[in-house]
């Protein structure tokens, strides 16, 4: 006797799930095999079935918990990449909208990390301010950085600043040079800067190395696909296997296919 899987709420819209599912490893990591054999797909997202803001908040907390504090020390705030949340919370549009709402309320900041056009990092504002002040404490720039955090960062929720805006907020060219030297601003263009985290270089390097290693492992395998279990047998990457997998699946560089032996990771078509 086969137990039929739960029907979606609107019965007449029984959807045919994607054969190559968009499940992150959260479904596998939550325990048990990746879906019953033959079952078209389990419930989406490891953070619970809901799709609204609650699911996004839970995904944010879960992803923040995955950030490797031990490795990167206490110097960096818990950084989550926005596309990691797509895999955890399921609905991309809901994640985007909720993050924009949080950004407008001032509870999180979206930062450019230098990984490519759409890759944004999400940090909570208080933790960001705390870590930045901790990084510059003791140096002569501390006062300036504090003024910048209270004035510019609090006032404007965008990830980038241009010269005119900074001048309006009371920061001249010399101040901007000091801020860039402190690592709080990164040069983007002549006269425009991204907001940055001091010391982010180690994280970005570890992320790029981990991505390259994982993708190389999948590419070198015979059919350009690897079971999650096999990946687990290799030495774990610096940032944590789950963090990197969420990143690669969210950025759509890898695709996860549920199989009888667990999720299978396949290179997304170039």
């Amino acid at each position: 006797m086969v137990r039929s899987p739960p029907l979606p709420p609107d019965v007449i819209r029984a959807r045919r799930k994607l054969p190559g599912g968009r499940h992150g490893p959260a479904a596998a990591g939550a325990g048990g095999p990746g879906g019953l054999p033959g079952c078209p797909g389990g419930p989406r997202g490891g953070a619970g079935g809901g799709r609204g803001p609650a699911a996004v908040e839970a995904a944010l907390r879960e992803a923040a918990a995955l950030f490797p504090r031990r490795l990167l020390g206490a110097a960096l705030p818990a950084l989550v990449l926005r596309h990691q949340l797509y895999g955890l919370a399921g609905d991309r549009t809901a994640v985007d909208r909720h993050l924009n709402r949080l950004r407008d309320e001032g509870r999180v900041r979206l930062l450019h990390l230098g990984l490519g056009g759409d890759a944004l990092g999400v940090v909570s504002t208080e933790e960001y301010a705390q870590k930045v002040l901790q990084a510059v404490s003791g140096s002569p720039r501390e006062g300036l950085v504090r003024r910048f955090l209270e004035g510019a960062v609090g006032a404007c929720p965008l990830p980038g600043y241009d010269q005119r805006l900074l001048r309006q907020l009371g920061f001249g060219d010399a101040d901007v040079t000091q801020l860039v030297a402190a690592g709080v601003l990164t040069v983007r263009d002549a006269g425009s800067w991204w907001l940055a985290v001091p010391g982010i270089g180690r994280f970005v390097r570890a992320l790029v190395r981990g991505r390259r290693a994982l993708l190389g492992a999948v590419r070198r395998s015979r059919h350009r696909e690897l079971l999650l279990a096999e990946l687990g047998q290799r030495p774990p990457p610096a940032l944590g296997l789950r963090y990197l997998l969420l990143d690669l699946l969210g950025a759509e560089l890898l695709r996860s296919v549920p199989t009888a032996s667990g999720p299978l990771l396949r290179l997304a078509e170039p």
Binding site: S4, I12, A14, L18, R22, G38, R92, G160, Y161, E269
Partner: protein
Amino acid sequence: MAGRPLTATNGPQTPPHSPAATLRPAPRVGGGHASNGARHWRRPARPRATPASPGPRWRIGGGCRRLAAMLGFLSGRQAGLDDPLRLRRAEATRRVLSLELNKDRDVERIHGNGINSLDIEPVEGRYMLSGGSDGVIVLYDLENLSRKPSYTCKALCSVGRSHPDGHRFSVETVQWYPHDTGMFTSSSFDKTLKIWDTNTLQPADVFHFEGTVYSHHMSSVATKHCLVAVGTKSPKVQLCDLKSGSCSHILQGHRQEILAVSWSPRHEYILATASADSKVKLWDVRRASGCLTTLDQHNGEKTKASSEAANTAHNGRVNGLCYTSDGLHLLTIGTDDRMRLWNSSTGENTLVNYGKVRNESRKGLKFAISCGCNPEFAFVPCGSTIAVYTVFSGELITMLRGHYNTVDCCVFQPNFQELYSGGKDCNILAWIPALREPVPDDVSDKCLPQQHLNPAYEDAWSSTDDEG
């Protein structure tokens, strides 16, 4: 100037179409008529044997419950509790969600080279035009009058390479005259736009341009004008007037070639154009002073973009444009592998995230949006598959696989919820909603399939032996 529409005397004999027959009659349920389904419904005896589907045993429970929901809609409609459109929308949505290739439906293969454009006439939804890379234009009849389930859509006529006035290079866009089937327009890489009379298959008029023509479109709601918007290699959008036979005006504003144009289905003077300079502009053609808005993907947040990329709709060439059927939203697709949904009255990016929509096409991509379903679906050609997305939530529903090579165009038939797609493999595939199998009756034996017995095992007993 419009020729006679294709009527019963020209085409095959057809019964007059009644407006009520826009939906195919619902399949019989349990031996009773659909209208009396509440009384005659019986539990289906046997599960459907569909070996291709992922979980056959799952379908028993789902099928029964779907039938029950369907009958709930029917009885609600009958009693006047529900809006009449609700049943229609629910059934249309269910049909679109079950689109698949069907061995019983085929489209005759005429093209020898890739198919660039398909268009179904909006009047009856019966005739389809296709334009190919070999310069051939073919007209198909999609209606099944053979009374057999297995049907090949026949090509009624074609404008081939041997036609003296045919196009010499690839036909990029074909479109029916929106008000009747007596006329159609086609534009091609040979720098012409030709207006054809369907019955005689002669061009009634030809417009010549300086650059290759990528796309053209004629408004389906226009009553006060007969303008065809043409997007060519030049950055100026040309508007050709069919009544006077000349290019009446030019819209300036883009900086590179125009890859797609589309009139709004809501306002007859609003035109959207997409260009290789990453910009999408909305125009009111009555205004002399320029475009209404340029769509901005960042919604005015200037510091998010670098200074050169201000007011761009995409970070690459904008390949395709499609309005939703009510004209309130506009979908654009670009070579930055993104699809964006815009509010067409304010020009605001609704920020619906469709993920990575693979787009490798160098020229325009023709995609379709469903019409009459509850969550509207967008059918986007992605490589050799067609991706089906819900328009307003950005969810990927399924990928339709069947073509052997890149898919270039697809078109949705709203009356029967069918999708026709054409691509570089020279095939036009018809995606039909999966039909429910007729449910066998418990009581009567007539529905049971007669087993074919080997004559050696047949019982040869006959009552005449006793008497003989």
